[in-house]
Homo-oligomer: 165 residues x 2
DNA sequence: TACAATTGTTAGACATGTCTAACAATTATG
DNA sequence: CATAATTGTTAGACATGTCTAACAATTGTA
């Protein structure tokens, strides 16, 4: 029994390659196998092999020893990965206050597995946090208090509940 | 060159097996290969094969045609996966308002890749949202307004900015 | 321009995790 | 309790994606 879905979806690996090529190619810069391999932490033969697969799917143009370039379709996929990546990085960085390096790492993993629905909501969430100074200020200051002290700030209850440690 | 790290980390697959065994074994219920295979959507030989690997690592006790049980170490790993799973489900469900099914799916994927730092923060975030009625009420009502209307509620700015579409 | 250094490719090994087909053990039932 | 149904295992194919080793092309430079 063979999967008969559209087969349009990429694996995490292939998405990584597309993303790397897009990022390296910003501003019409020439993209090299070596750069991709360094960016992704794999050896050059892995890149060559990935480029072959992506060429067959017409997501990448690549000729032996020659140029590497995303096709319009490949670019579309890459842009989408990058969009998810950025939103996730912002979420972990801004909203959760995670350090940049960890935020990046998590974004790199999660970008490949999160559903589009959750992705949209997360993006909206970040937009909201960043755009709504009052809501977010109240929110984040209380949240930070909670993070630091491990208990809720006093103004957190509707009634002035006496519950203190 | 061989990786020389502690080799303690499990793959997503192996974590899934451990998690399934823990869930199926709740309340001392007998765990069967068939159940695991159904729960994870794989065929039985895949389960047998996974059990073999997990036995070698002493995370699972399994004898041919016999009982399947987590070792204390295996249980520890499984509990940790389940903890992440639950926190993520709550985050997507409660905080982002995602439907249960999608929240589950995303949790199942992300639980295997998220860093412990982000995991802790996310859990705290959910705790906060759920525990701080005032902060969260203000926050979520504004957030929901934003989700529904696509623009910020009027009380969102510090100054009464005129910026309306 | 010839040679050296660098970059890229090919071939093939290997690890992981899945599957199907065939067989074996266990369990249920007439 | 004998046989059928179910459950589980083994063997081995296959897909993905990585690697090393060897070789080939390109580029830089004396």
């Amino acid at each position: 029994m063979v999967k008969q879905e559209a087969q349009r979806e990429q694996t995490a690996s292939m998405e990584d390659y597309l993303e790397a090529i897009a990022n390296l190619g910003e501003g019409r810069k020439v993209v090299r196998v070596k750069q991709i391999s360094e960016m992704l932490g794999v050896k050059m033969p892995s890149v060559t092999s990935a480029l072959k697969k992506l060429s067959e799917q017409e997501l990448v143009e690549h000729e032996r020893y020659g140029h590497i370039k995303l096709t319009p379709e490949g670019n579309k996929v890459a842009r989408d990965v990058i969009r998810r990546h950025k939103a996730l990085t912002r979420f972990f960085g801004q909203a959760l206050g995670i350090n940049e390096e960890t935020a990046e790492e998590d974004a790199c993993k999660i970008e490949h597995v999160i559903s589009s629905l959750s992705m949209e909501r997360l993006a909206k969430f970040v937009e909201f946090i960043e755009a709504c100074p009052l809501g977010s200020a109240n929110f984040s200051s209380r949240y930070e208090y909670y993070l630091e002290h491990g208990e809720l700030p006093q103004d957190c209850s509707k009634r002035s509940v006496s519950k203190r440690k």
